[in-house]
């Protein structure tokens, strides 16, 4: 494959150096972890800087560095603007984070909230949604990462995928959420410096005006503000992003872990700082016509152009950026999903009398099990599996309204919330296959809103907020 731009030796060296660094860092951070709260929630005392950086880094996935150029290449200016609107998920979660911490100062997972607020039926529906999404994301990260590493460097897919999973499992296991958050901080800085450098060098070598002129001449549709498919994509993508953040334990565990009165500020800042990133990583795709360089598949357009403009140095940066972006999301997802399995499935269903020490052990075991399952799912490289994440848009968008109403309204009843999630998911999924990916999240969210509104009018639960504490 001629997309190989970095020698395999270099790739192996980078993986080993960063791997050792992060695992050592994880061990060092985790050496004082004693309790379940230390391990799962970093002692519930994360400061503003780390809080903002971790929220930002986790939301910069390999998707931000690969999908943003891809969407720009396919849908043009609206593609990158639309992708950057995913920052709204972080921004809108800011007030929720504050409310969550206030309502449940001792909470652990989003599953905790749904169970206490809505009861068992809604909780089961929610767990299915949350776990489907977590596995979709884990597999897409593991597989996407392996494919990218092999495309960029020629390193065998299975070796690259196994290496990144192994490294993330190791340091998450050693350091818990503390390690995840601290490595996120370092990774954010690396990612930001990398993408900014690539963008600056790209502009100075090619010139923005040349890029614009070439696009206008050869692919004018990409500059069209009335590009129909892009208009349809816009809000669907926004609701997909909001659904991902509102329901996922990745973000709830951060809301619990951040120091008092930090959550709202941190999520707001993270959102604002994240907003321009997809434009910075995406606009580079528009250089394709100016360079006369067209990718084999559109997901490779970003690395291809960066490597072309910057040569070997560019490939080196792209590799480090993507590797960091992947690790920063993979570790968070491993930690948050293991929390969900520990507290909700083990502590909630299997062994209701488990004490905190037992849960701490289960939490560590489940990180390893999650790593192994993800590895096994990624190993055969069934390409269609990587697309599963797109389907989960229908699921996650159905949880937006039940969560918002559940946090602020005493009226909404558990059965209605369960119906809203199940109904929204069913309709969104149907339309995904009948019409296309760009309507599934939107339709799911609309249906779930209607079910919730009917429920709010018909019943009054008179929920007592104290039951959440």
């Amino acid at each position: 494959m001629n997309a190989v731009v970095l020698s395999t030796e270099w790739a192996i060296a980078i993986v080993i150096v960063f791997g050792v660094l992060w695992v050592a860092f994880g061990w060092w951070l985790g050496r004082n972890n004693r309790t379940l709260d230390d391990f799962m929630l970093a002692g519930r005392n994360v400061g503003f800087a780390f809080a903002s950086a971790t929220a930002m880094a986790t939301w910069i996935t390999s998707n931000t560095t690969l999908l943003a150029p891809q969407l720009t290449y396919e849908l043009g200016v609206w593609g990158m603007l639309g992708y950057s609107m995913a920052a709204l998920g972080l921004i809108l979660f800011a007030p929720l984070a504050k409310r969550i911490k206030a309502l449940m100062p001792h909470g652990y997972t989003c599953g905790d909230f749904i169970r206490r607020r809505y009861g068992r039926v809604a909780w089961y529906v929610f767990l299915i949604v949350a776990l489907a999404y977590s596995f979709g994301w884990l597999v897409s990260l593991g597989m996407g990462g392996g494919i990218l590493i092999s495309t960029l460097s020629g390193l065998d897919y299975r070796v690259g995928m196994s290496a990144i999973l192994f490294i993330c499992v190791c340091y998450t296991l050693l350091g818990g959420l503390k390690a995840v958050i601290a490595t996120d901080f370092v990774q954010t800085i690396i990612i930001l410096i990398g993408v900014i450098l690539i963008a600056y060098v790209g502009i100075s070598k090619l010139g923005l005006e040349e890029i614009h002129t070439a696009v206008e001449a050869k692919s004018p549709q990409l500059l069209n503000l009335l590009f129909p498919a892009a208009l349809m994509f816009l809000f669907n993508n926004i609701f997909f992003g909001i659904g991902e953040i509102f329901h996922s334990n990745v973000w709830w565990s951060r809301a619990f872990a951040f120091k008092d009165k930090i959550g709202k500020k941190a999520f707001l800042l993270a959102g604002v700082l994240w907003l321009p990133i997809p434009i910075v990583t995406g606009f580079i795709a528009l250089a394709a016509p100016a360079l006369g360089l067209y990718p084999a598949s559109s997901d490779m357009v970003g690395p291809l152009i960066a490597a072309k403009i910057l040569g070997g140095v560019g490939a080196f940066f792209v590799f480090i950026v993507v590797f960091s972006a992947m690790a920063s999301s993979l570790d968070s997802l491993l930690a948050a999903t293991s929390d969900l399995i520990t507290k909700d499935i083990y502590g909630g269903i299997i062994n209701k009398n488990a004490d905190k020490e037992k849960l701490l052990k289960v939490s560590k075991v489940s990180i390893v099990i999650l790593g192994v399952i993800t590895w096994a799912l990624c190993f055969p490289r069934i390409d269609t599996l990587a697309a599963i994440l797109m389907i989960t848009g229908a699921f996650v968008a159905s949880t937006i309204w039940p969560i918002v109403f559940g946090l602020y309204f005493r009226r909404l009843n558990g059965t209605v919330a369960a119906l809203a999630m199940a109904g929204g998911s069913a309709v969104g999924l149907t339309l995904y296959f009948q019409v296309g990916y760009y309507v599934s999240a939107l339709s799911s969210c609309v249906v779930s809103l209607f079910v919730c509104l009917i429920g709010l009018m018909a019943y009054d639960e008179k929920f007592d907020w104290k039951r959440l504490q």
Partner: protein, 143 residues
């Protein structure tokens, strides 16, 4: 809803292979047979020389070549940003010999009114969510 999914049927011409150096090119489309988004992938089987270019014209006989693309060795290329229309593609080497069959690509973007409807449904829902959150945080503050 299915009615607006596929309106035209894509024509992939597959001419007979006449020589060994001939590459068979085809359109690798995703879900739709007609590109509704203006992007599409073309792929070809068989070895082609580095000097080979992908040519685009708007007529079957390639009277006027409108665009030429350098190709990569992956045997595949993804192009984007096309407006409505029918486009013809073929591979030609530096001596102007055809080295592949030609492929027809139909691009038919979604009707703008449909797209705008989706846009406004999304916008309305978004405004609902923002105002709910604003009202809720206000009320809880005054509590």
């Amino acid at each position: 809803m299915r009615t607006f999914k596929i309106k035209l049927i894509l024509l992939v011409s597959s001419l007979f292979l006449c020589s060994f150096s001939f590459a068979e090119m085809k359109l690798k489309s995703g879900v739709d047979d007609v590109s509704k988004e203006g992007y599409f992938s073309l792929s070809w089987e068989g070895e082609v020389a580095e000097s080979v270019r992908l040519e685009m014209a708007s007529s079957e006989n390639f009277e006027a070549i409108e665009r030429k693309y350098m190709i990569n060795r992956d045997g595949k290329i993804t192009l984007s940003g096309y407006g409505d229309g029918t486009f013809y593609f073929r591979l030609r080497d530096s001596k102007s010999n055809e080295v592949s069959n030609f492929v027809v690509v139909n691009v038919e973007h979604w009707p703008l009114d449909k797209a705008v409807t989706f846009f406004f449904v999304g916008l309305t829902l978004f405004v609902c969510l923002i105002s709910t959150l604003l009202v809720c945080t206000r009320i809880k503050k005054t509590d």
